[in-house]
Structures are given as C-alpha cells and as structure tokens.
C-alpha cells in the first residue's frame, strides 16, 4: 500500500479555486443527469408559449402585439422561477454523504454554496436564452437590438443570482427539497403575478396597483422592456440593482450563518 500513500500535503485550494471546483461539479452533474434540466427548459418554453397564445388575443387584440409587450416579462418570470431550484438542489445536496465530506475538508467554507451558485447562473442563462430564442422565432423583434437584449439578460441574471440567496437560505432552514419548492413557489406566484409582467398596472384596483409599483419585479421588468426596446432605462436599472444588493445584503450573511451552524 505504501506506493499509494502521498503524505505530503499541498496547500488546499484557495477560495476562488475551490468555488470553481464546485462550479465544475455542478456542470458535471448536468452532464451526467441532464434530466435535471427539465425545469430549466420546461418553464421558459411553457411560459413563453402559454401566456402569449392564451392571453394575447384577449389582452392585446393579437398574439403578435402582446408578444412585443410580454416577452421581456416572460424572460424575467421564467428566470426568476428557475431560481427556486438553487435552494431545492442545495437542500438535497446537504443531506448527502458527499457534502459531509466537503464540510470535513480544509476548504473555504462557503465554496460549495458559491460554486453551486455559479453553476446555477449557467442554468439561468440557459432559461433566459430559451425565452429569447423562442420569442424571436415567434416574431418578437427587439428595437434595442442585440446589445439591448444582452443588457436585459445580464440584468435579469443579476437579479436572479441575488434572489437565489433567499432560496439558499430557505434550503438551509427547511427539512426537505419539496418543502423548499412549495414555499418558494407560494412566495413567487404572488410576487411575480402582482407586477407589470402580464398587464398594465393602471388596469388594476388601486391597492394592487400600489403593490405592483413597489414590487422589485416590476422595476426589473420595466428595465428589461426598456433595454430590449432601446429606450432610456437608467433609473429602473438602478432600482433593480439596489433591490439585488439588498437581497444579497440580507440573505447572504444569513445563509453563511446558517451554514456555519449546520
């Protein structure tokens, strides 16, 4: 056995290298278990097709006209829904023996979570890309051009990765992946639907209009619409960035604390 023992101990991977190693693990998991992309593919495709053809005629007179209004909202909706799976996956992962091993190794503590988040951003990118690709195929024409679309996508990814910390926190608190998913969706449905994604808030009762106006999702959608149609968006982008910063400021330390205590 002597030949197989290496007693010299290299310096363990630093924070960045360790996080990247865990990001690589996420990608490997997608490669080996591609079924897990079912949600990342299904949600954007379903949302884009369903809401466009279901509401288009009634709400905007035509699906084509509605698509111009709806697509930036669908992009936001689909990616934001997919973020819940960050918490779901983390919760399942924490229960495995593999995670016990990671936590007993001399590795920067937040690396597994940060690495998983990096992998998740790849999934968000896929979800967002699907909505945009499908929208273009269905006739959506962004006046903002490729630059506007990419800027909108980047903003959505920024907000989504900030929101992920809320689900990561939930994933550290709750006992089962199913509980994370249920509670995540129960929160997300009102938060996304009580916004300007589907309809102009001016048509809503006053109280709902008020909710929609302060809803960070509305600011994100307004910014996304503006960027994709090439109009002025700076204040909405700043609002969204502030909301993202607030989410990270609240939930990232909370998650770190919970993880430390685990």
């Amino acid at each position: 056995m002597t030949a197989i023992s290496w007693h010299e101990r290299p310096a363990p991977a630093g924070p960045a290298a360790a996080s990247l190693a865990f990001a690589w693990r996420s990608l490997l998991k997608i490669k080996h278990v591609p079924e897990q992309l079912g949600d990342v593919i299904g949600i954007p495709v379903l949302f884009t097709l369903l809401f466009t053809y279901l509401f288009g005629g009634a709400l905007a007179g035509s699906t084509h006209g509605y698509l111009q209004f709806l697509l930036p909202g669908t992009l936001t909706l689909a990616v934001v829904f997919v973020t819940v799976y960050s918490g779901v996956t983390l919760n399942a992962d924490l229960a495995t023996g593999a995670f016990d091993r990671f936590r007993s190794m001399p590795v920067w503590r937040p690396a597994p979570i940060l690495g998983a988040l990096i992998g998740d951003i790849g999934r968000y990118l896929l979800a967002g890309g699907l909505v945009i690709g499908l929208g273009l195929a269905m006739g959506y024409r962004p006046a903002g051009g490729a630059a506007g679309v990419l800027a909108a996508l980047a903003l959505v990814l920024l907000f989504a990765s900030a929101l992920s910390w809320a689900w990561i926190t939930l994933g550290l608190v709750l006992r089962s992946p199913n509980a994370v998913m249920s509670i995540g969706f129960v929160i997300l449905f009102p938060v996304t639907f009580m916004s300007n994604i589907f309809v102009d808030p001016a048509t809503m009762p006053g109280w709902l209009h008020g909710v929609s106006d302060v809803n960070p999702v509305s600011h994100l959608v307004t910014a996304t619409r503006a960027l994709m149609s090439g109009t002025h968006a700076t204040p909405q982008v700043l609002w969204t960035a502030a909301a993202a910063a607030l989410l990270v400021a609240v939930f990232a330390p909370l998650a770190a604390l919970l993880y430390q205590r685990k």
Partner: protein
Amino acid sequence: MITATPSIIGDLAVETDGLVKTFGTTRAVDGVNLAIPRGSVYGVLGPNGAGKTTTIRILATLLRPDGGSARVLGHDVVREAAAVRKLISLTGQFASVDADLTAEENLLLLSRLLGYSRRQARRRAGELLAAFDLTGVARHQAARLSGGMRRKLDLAASIIVAPDLLFLDEPTTGLDPRSRSALWDIVRGIVADGTTVLLTTQYLDEADKLADRIAVIDHGRVIAAGTRGELKNSVGSAGIRIRLLDPAHRSRARDLIADHQIVVHDEPDPAVISARVPAQQRAEAAGELAAYALGRLTGAGIGVSDFALGQPSLDEVFLALTGSQAAPAPTGRQAIR
C-alpha cells in the same frame, strides 16, 4: 541532558471529555469519554442509535457538541476546527462520494480541492483507481457502482492525501462477505502506512478482526473500553467445546470432566459439550483445560471427533454489557440491497 517525557496528550489521536449532544429531548451522546492512541485501529462498537455516528460527526467537525470537549490530534474540534480538518478524512455511514459523478471525477474534484494541480490530480486519481482495482469503472457514475466498489472509491477518496486520522463510520454495513474482507485488507494497509483509524461498527466480528482497542457504547455512553482480550476477560472465562464421536457417551463425558472448578454444559447439538473454568482469568487457562479434558476422555476410551478452544466471543461480551444482542454479521443474502 534532559530526558523528554512524551506528553500523554500528544500521543492521543482523539481525546474527549464528557462529550454531550442532544437532539430535542434525546441525549444522543451523553458524556462520552474516549482516549484513542495514535497508530492503531480503534473500534467503537454499539447497536443502532447508540450514538456512534453522532460522536464521529462531532469529532469530524460536522456537529458542535452541546457539552464537554473533544480534541483531535491535539486540536479542539470547535475552536480549532480548521486545523482538525487538515489532518482528518471522513468516510461517512452512507458512501461519502457524489453519486452523480463518475469514480474518476469524484477523485479529481477532491484532489483539486485539496490543492493538487490539474496534472497532479489526474496522476493521483489514476494511481488510486489502479490501487483499488477501480480502473475499469473509472468512467462509471458512482451511483452505478456496486456497494463494495462504492465503498472502495470512498476509501480511495479518503486517502488522496494520507490523513493522520481516518474516520470510518460503519464501513461495511450492507456489504457482502467478500467485499467486507477486501475492505478490511485495505483498511489494514492504510493503518500500516501510519494512519490512525477510528472505526464504528455494529458488527462484532468486524471489531474483533480490525480493532486493536474497542470502546463499547450504548445509549450515548461508553460502557466498556479496552483491548479485545481485556473486554473478553472482563466478561467470561476461557472455555472449550468438544464434539464426541458417539452422542450416547455424552453424560459419561460430562461426569468425567466436571469437578468443583470446571462447569460443563450440554450444547444444543446432542454430540457436543462445552466446558469452562469460571474463576480462571489467565490466558493459558483454555489450553490447560483442554489438555485435562482430552486426557480424561481418552483415558476412558471416549472418542472425540472435533474440538475448539478460545475466549468467549465478543458476542457474549456485548450481550453481557448491553443486555441486547449485537447485529448479526451480514450473510450474502442479506447484503444484497
């Protein structure tokens, strides 16, 4: 010239003092005291739910104790957790490898985390796969490996850098007998290379075969600790079992051997008797008893077909200490999951 006395603490791989961990109202670990010397296999033996896994999780810095203290290789597991993690490896109760990744990817990931370069990691993974006879399944997902192979991969992952202390939490639970003995051989090799192993098991034969010293734990407490021999001696005496050629001679044989010192029992098998010297604590007692008994039987013309001597089994020790039966060793059939 100054003669240095080796520090007792420095020689201990694990030292716990009144370790306590409660979950709700359950005291899973209820004042565990352990002193585990370096350089051996230390067995922690106990039934399911005795607190073995919780103790290991505290020592591996995965759980904080609610009371008492624990030092691993001289470092406090709470205050110096980072230092402890540099010196230990954990092979958890359920294989601590990523089931979705291939055998090779598991080793590569852990090698990278431990600080090897990409090239070194490849070389190390290849070496370990070859040494553990896993090269043929290197590209198989861990989930698709057999229980025995997954355990081997788990052990390989634990010695990417040879740890000073290796925790093995029920390493052979659910394995078939052949995989178990293959795994035991690997563990012996790891120990020969200088790693201290803390092994938990609910199988007596595993503790008997692997561990130099054993702590028996039940309801979160250590109820006995010592070498195998000490534990056995603490419970019973040396004994022999004799199988007669002719069952009809049994009662005569019993009368020939039994006297005021020697207790003789009929065994369930009608041709077998067993004899013990209850007061006897010496290791050579079984041999003396055997010579005496065989001499008496031969002198009387009673034929013996089979014969065995030895200390009481750990089974008997366990039963006497905990009042409950230990888990039976797995048979081939049970092991198939």
